[in-house]
């Protein structure tokens, strides 16, 4: 009886709880700072995402142009209210704000002010408020240009409502930060308001799948004595940013957000300037920039050395370009960074190091000196987001590679960050959908698509003999081409020594590797050849079982998630081929081969084939795998998963070899 009563009371409380949750969601979100409701504090889960560890109740940013003495600043008031539902959601009470803040008087000085934070807890049915003090605020200067404020809200725990707000003064009126409405936790309400005197015109670009309500109002600004434009953005019930984004270079490309880019400023009698509207404007700004256009016009600081080396006399254009790159590589090394603008070429040369832009500018000055036509191809790295579709944008550009023209119609990509690369070999982060080749005049430019040009190709050829004792021994030769070469060289260089590399190779292929030879590991070339002899003991006594690919490739399927709400991106267009010939021991035969596999996605976007041909004294295996497109929409995930699954299942199958 007691047990039953207990159960009923549990059901009643569960029902109450459910009502509370539903009520909390059905009501208009509470946008009052400092006034959490009992319902919010009693909430134990979020009905639309029952597994959420925290939920953002309201997040708001108000951006307005403000006058500070003689200058203008952007004032951004940020407010956030959040509910912590479980211990794992406590990170919402641990906040880091990074500011661009130069040391000394010169440069940009963003400021953080009016920082307030509170935690609210329900203690014995009463709301208890804990206010953050300086004790849990920490400020650090990370670099000469960046400072950080880190704060932790005291008494934040599972069940708490936390609130914080601050005002950020941005010392560059062209730079309204992107508003990310979507985050790792679900958001009940996100609001973003931008108030600007009509002297400023910004382009707003929305992305994401949650409906966003955008309204625009006009009022008279007393502060600026002009018309003020007010843009409001509002999202409700935004789901948490999916975690299944491991195949994406820049997941935030697909998040609910608004980016703001200045189009023009026209303050009567002070300044009139047009920013990035059309590509031609962007090009002009780049070519006028001393650290971009200026660098393109710099003379070759290695002229004398190139002359001594006789590079200009090399007849073939690409050979001349190759000799130039080889000389450059002896003089300077990439420091690991990417940028759009560069420092002075003699300085780069003196330092012996620089980011990809520094090295690319130096390379272009050298190439031009020996009459090799070359131009920068500006882009945004894949990890930094795509270029906007609706307008051209200087802000979105963050680096460039070099296009080297073999003749008037044919060009090749090259970037100094691909230290072990070649022509048309770029790191996958630069394998973008679109970049802009910028010629000598602003109006003279072309769209280009590295993704169509860059290829990853590898071909393996294996010949092996099986002994009557079940020992498979043979030779494997794999030829790597273009971007496959870069990937291989990177892996090779990442290992401490060749022994460690061969050991890890042997482990991954589950075989003993004996003679290992590499051709082209340290050359400036688009090919590399790996050769090794191997031994592998097969399972079985009088009958042997053999996986078709021997070298263990494709045996696992990394697409294991049931479904994906995010797209899938591959590094390169890929082609992999295997030709395998296994000679059987005298008196043995293929008792059972494997049925052929041939599978592809619509329009051959991806395909896989595997054929096993059993001969009298041997077995022949051919396998092909091709990725013909880089970007796949979420609805294509199921097909990719299925294709990988079929291929991995096939590669796990066994050829049965037995005595005749």
């Amino acid at each position: 009886m007691k047990r039953r009563f207990f159960s009923i009371s549990k059901i009643i409380s569960a029902a109450c709880l459910l009502t509370i949750c539903v009520t909390a969601n059905a009501q208009a979100p509470n946008t009052k700072m400092g006034s959490p409701t009992i319902e919010e504090l009693s909430m134990t889960s979020y009905s639309q995402d029952p597994e959420a560890k925290a939920v953002i109740l309201w997040e708001d940013s108000e951006v307005a142009m403000e006058r500070h003495g003689q200058s203008m600043k952007i004032g951004m008031t940020f407010k956030r209210r959040a509910k912590i539902l479980a211990e794992e959601g406590m990170d919402v009470a641990d906040v880091t704000i990074r500011l661009r803040n130069n040391e000394g008087a010169i440069g940009r000085h963003d400021e953080l002010g009016s920082l307030k934070a509170n935690a609210f807890n329900l203690v014995n049915g009463k709301i208890e408020k804990t206010t953050m003090t300086n004790a849990t605020i920490s400020k650090q200067r990370l670099t000469p240009h960046v400072t950080q404020t880190h704060f932790v809200i005291p008494q934040a725990k599972a069940g708490s409502i936390i609130e914080y707000q601050y005002k950020l003064y941005i010392d560059d009126f062209t730079d309204i930060p992107t508003w990310y409405a979507q985050c790792k936790y679900p958001v009940l309400l996100s609001t973003f308001e931008v108030r600007l005197p009509d002297w400023f015109v910004f382009a707003f670009q929305q992305s994401g799948s949650t409906p966003c309500q955008h309204t625009q109002d006009f009022t008279n600004s007393t502060q600026f004595n002009t018309v003020e434009t007010k843009d409001n953005f509002r999202w409700e019930n935004i789901p948490a940013l999916p975690k299944d984004n491991e195949y994406l270079y820049c997941p935030s490309d697909f998040a609910d957000k608004v980016t703001c880019e200045m189009k023009s400023v026209n303050i009567p009698g002070v300044i009139a300037r047009t920013y990035s509207l059309e590509q031609v404007d962007v090009n002009k700004q780049l070519l006028d920039n001393p650290n971009f256009g200026g660098r393109l016009r710099q003379k070759n600081p290695l002229h004398k050395e190139m002359e001594e080396a006789g590079i200009a006399k090399i007849e073939n254009v690409m050979d001349r370009a190759k000799a130039t790159i080889e000389l450059l590589k002896k003089k300077v090394r990439w420091n690991g960074g990417y940028s759009l603008t560069g420092t002075s070429l003699p300085k780069v040369l003196k330092e012996g190091t620089g980011d990809n832009a520094d090295l690319n500018f130096l390379l272009m000055s050298m190439l031009r000196d020996v009459n090799v036509k070359c131009h920068p191809a500006v882009m945004s790295l894949r990890s930094r987001g795509r270029l906007p579709l609706t307008h051209s944008s200087l802000e979105s550009l963050n680096t460039f590679c070099v296009t080297i023209f073999e003749n008037e119609n044919t060009y090749h990509f090259y970037d100094s960050s691909a230290e072990d690369g070649y022509f048309d070999v770029l790191p996958s982060n630069m394998n973008v959908e679109r970049c802009i080749i910028l010629y000598d005049k602003p109006g003279d430019w072309d769209n280009a698509c590295p993704q169509k040009k860059l290829k990853y190709t590898r071909m393996s050829s294996i010949t092996a003999q099986l002994s009557a004792e079940g020992l498979l021994s043979g030779e494997c030769t794999t030829n790597y081409y273009n971007n496959a070469v870069l990937s291989y060289r990177n892996a090779w260089n990442a290992k401490n020594d060749s022994t460690a590399f061969v050991a890890s190779l042997a482990e991954s292929k589950e075989m003993t590797i004996n003679d290992f030879h590499l051709t082209g590991a340290n050359e400036f070339s688009s090919t590399l050849s790996e050769q090794f002899t191997f031994e592998k003991q097969l399972d079985g006594d009088d009958r042997f079982y053999l996986n078709p690919l021997i070298v263990n490739d494709f045996k696992t399927n990394s697409f294991t998630a049931e479904k994906s709400t995010m797209p899938v991106e591959f590094p390169y267009i890929t082609s992999r081929m295997y030709n395998i010939l296994i000679t059987l021991p005298e008196g043995y035969q293929v008792e059972e081969a494997i049925a052929p596999l041939s599978v592809s996605l619509p329009e051959k976007a991806m395909s896989a084939q595997l054929i096993v041909n059993a001969r009298e004294d041997a077995v022949e295996i051919n396998c092909r795998f091709n990725v013909n497109r880089i970007f796949y929409a979420p609805e294509e995930y199921e097909g990719i998963k299925k294709l990988y699954n079929l291929l991995s299942s096939k590669c796990n199958e066994m050829i049965v070899i037995s005595k005749k």
Binding site: S138, K243, E351, T353, E507, R543, T560, A593, S649, V656
Partner: protein, 629 residues
């Protein structure tokens, strides 16, 4: 005479050949290294127990890209106590031509830290060499004030594959200041001489050979040659004590906590309301841990003497935040309120052993709480993570030497290590393949101790993430349907329970008339060890554990066993492998067990360990082949 000349020529020839061979050897030896420290000089000048300067000079030849980080300069300083008084750097190419001169103004200052609050900051300079070899020389002086817990010692090898031509060390202290030192992996002599009211200690190391990285090697810090120096009487922000024994160091730490353990009245009331004082002591402690878990969380604060002195329990309770010392102090206060005595205890989380005869500050990095005599045993409480089951010795504690800080001073002791049984991962597996090769798989695992510790976060993540993690962890093929997925921690026990029931299409592989099934779906990652020619370093295994599985594979209708996995029993110095296989009517029953034990073995035992690991790998990779009848 002629004969003598010939003989002389022969000698000269032999000497020349010998020299050439030596040079060639040296050249090859030097090429085998990534970098060579040509000169490494440290001069410590201590003027009182509050201040000292350290002058450092380092010259390195970097032979290749793998050691390019050695061209960078970085040192950690502290606002108000450690400053950089002078600095210069030079980078030259292989011909001795100076490529770059670096001044103090070129250094970048960063306060970036993983700690929430600290006075530390770093100054750094980064250089990417464009060609090799290059020669890098840095000279700098650091000035210390307010604190002196130890002197910079001599440990010239920075890591693997770097050799050292010459390293010199000089420590000057005022007469009367006692200096203690400890040598590790070296018999280098330390000379002491008095000069003009000062005492000078010197040491010199030369031609230190590079150490090559090898699998299962001890930590680098346990094999590198080094000498540690410290003052017998230390000064930490004005607080002084003796390093003559662990007892005195522990006493000083105890004194730092005195007067700081008082808990606020509101917390005392809460304890009185929620903790049943009539319950057994262990139960009361467990309830106090739960209270600590609900009201606090960890953040690292290391300011001034706060680097060693805990924050007042009252402040920690009010903020609900604190570092390991603060949370330990608060818990100590809470237990005191319950009438249970406990002692703050220091240890190193990743180094198991303290140097018993050489107390020093650098040997510990964490504080926990020791509650003696609870149910005839001592309880070690990890206040930084009170969600861990009470009494559980996590991997940072098990087998570690610790220093108890008591009113009678420090007491060294060792926390018992976990046994393989404590760290057992037991799985009961049922594999039911269907005639169409789809398979129903059921795995029930109990993952205990340190194996639980590394996986316990699984119980706290969302179900989709759990699914993804379990798919990676287990070998299940392509799971079409998850019938059951349950991951939970056992209440009050260091045990994670996972229950997976899945319908898979890729586990049993069809191969014409055959069906091939992997034997073990639980542990797919018993990896192998690479060959090591001329192994130099001892072989160290650090964890006791056991993986045990009872697997039942049902033979589907229309199929018969064609090839069975092989049974195996193997015992080695580092463990035991057992696999038994039996067919019972329509079922194949497999029992697997791998028991591994922690050991320090001589280098010569590597092939045996390697073979043992390979046998495990092979045994776990076996397959059952069924054929249509």
């Amino acid at each position: 005479m002629q004969r003598d000349d010939c003989h002389k020529q022969e000698i000269v020839m032999k000497q020349t050949i010998s020299l050439l061979v030596t040079l060639l050897f040296l050249c090859l030896t030097s090429l085998a290294q990534d970098a060579t420290i040509e000169q490494y000089d440290i001069q410590v000048n201590c003027s009182s127990n509050r201040s000292m300067t350290i002058r450092k000079h380092i010259e390195v030849t970097i032979h290749n890209k793998k050691a390019e980080d050695m061209a960078d300069f970085s040192t950690t300083l502290e606002n108000g106590t450690i400053s950089l008084s002078d600095f210069s750097g030079t980078i030259s190419d292989s011909n001795g031509k100076v490529i770059k001169k670096i001044k103090k103004g070129d250094l970048i200052r960063s306060e970036y830290s993983s700690e929430f609050k600290t006075n530390d900051y770093r100054v750094l300079y980064s250089f990417t060499p464009s060609s090799f070899p290059i020669h890098v020389a840095y000279d700098w002086t650091e000035t210390f004030t307010q604190r002196m817990t130890n002197f910079e010692g001599i440990a010239p090898l920075p890591g693997y594959n770097v050799d050292v031509r010459e390293a010199t060390y000089q420590l000057t202290v005022p007469e009367g200041m006692e200096v203690l030192y400890h040598k590790r992996n070296t018999d280098t002599e330390v000379h002491r001489e008095s000069q003009n009211g000062k005492v000078i200690y010197t040491a010199r190391m030369e031609n230190l050979k590079a150490i090559t990285s090898e699998p299962l090697a001890p930590r680098f810090s346990d094999i590198e040659p080094s000498i540690i120096f410290e003052p017998k009487e230390f000064n930490y922000y004005g607080s002084t004590a003796s390093l003559s024994s662990w007892q005195s160091l522990g006493q000083w730490l105890w004194q730092l906590t005195e007067g700081r353990k008082a808990i606020p009245q509101s917390l005392a009331n809460k304890i009185d309301q929620t903790i049943d004082r009539s319950a057994p002591r262990k139960e009361q402690i467990a309830q106090a841990c739960q209270l600590l878990r609900k009201m606090t969380r960890y953040i690292s604060i290391q300011l001034g003497i706060g680097g060693w002195q805990p924050e007042k329990a009252e402040v920690t309770a009010t903020l609900g935040l604190g570092d390991c010392k603060a949370l330990t102090c608060l818990m100590c206060g809470m237990l005191e309120h319950l009438g249970i005595s406990s002692f703050p205890t220091i240890l190193h989380m990743s180094r198991a052993h303290l140097i018993k005869d050489f107390p020093s500050f650098g040997q510990t990095n964490h504080m926990i709480l020791c509650v003696p005599s609870v149910d005839t045993d001592t309880l070690w409480i990890e206040c930084t993570d009170p969600s861990l089951p009470i009494g559980y010795r996590h991997s940072g504690l098990a087998g570690h030497d610790v220093l108890l800080c008591t009113p009678d001073g420090g007491k060294l002791t060792t926390i018992a290590d976990n046994t393989p049984e404590d760290n057992l991962w037991y799985s009961e597996v049922k594999i039911n393949p269907n005639p169409d090769c789809s398979t129903d798989i059921c795995i029930n695992s109990k993952i205990c101790g340190e194996q639980y510790e590394s996986l316990r976060s699984l119980s706290k993540i969302e179900q989709a993430e759990q699914r993804k993690a379990l798919m990676k962890m287990y070998n299940l093929g392509q799971v079409e349907q998850n019938k059951q997925l349950n991951v939970h921690e056992s209440e009050g026990m260091p045990q994670l329970n996972t229950e997976v029931q899945a319908h898979s299409t890729g586990y049993a592989v069809p191969s014409g008339t055959r069906m091939i099934l992997p034997v073990n779906s639980v542990h797919k990652s018993h990896s192998t060890l690479p060959n090591v020619v001329d192994r130099k370093l001892p072989v160290q295994t650090t964890m006791n554990y056991e993986d045990r599985e009872d697997i039942t594979i049902t033979i589907p209708e229309g199929y018969a066993v064609e090839s069975m996995p092989k049974a195996i029993t193997l015992e080695s110095a580092v463990g035991k492998l057992t696999m038994t296989v039996a067919q019972e009517e329509r079922e194949v029953k497999i029992h697997c067990s791998v028991q591994r034990t922690a050991h320090n073995l001589p280098s010569s035992s590597y092939p045996e360990v390697q073979n043992f690991v390979k046998q495990i790998h092979n045994a776990y990779n076996q397959k059952l082949v069924l054929k249509k009848i």
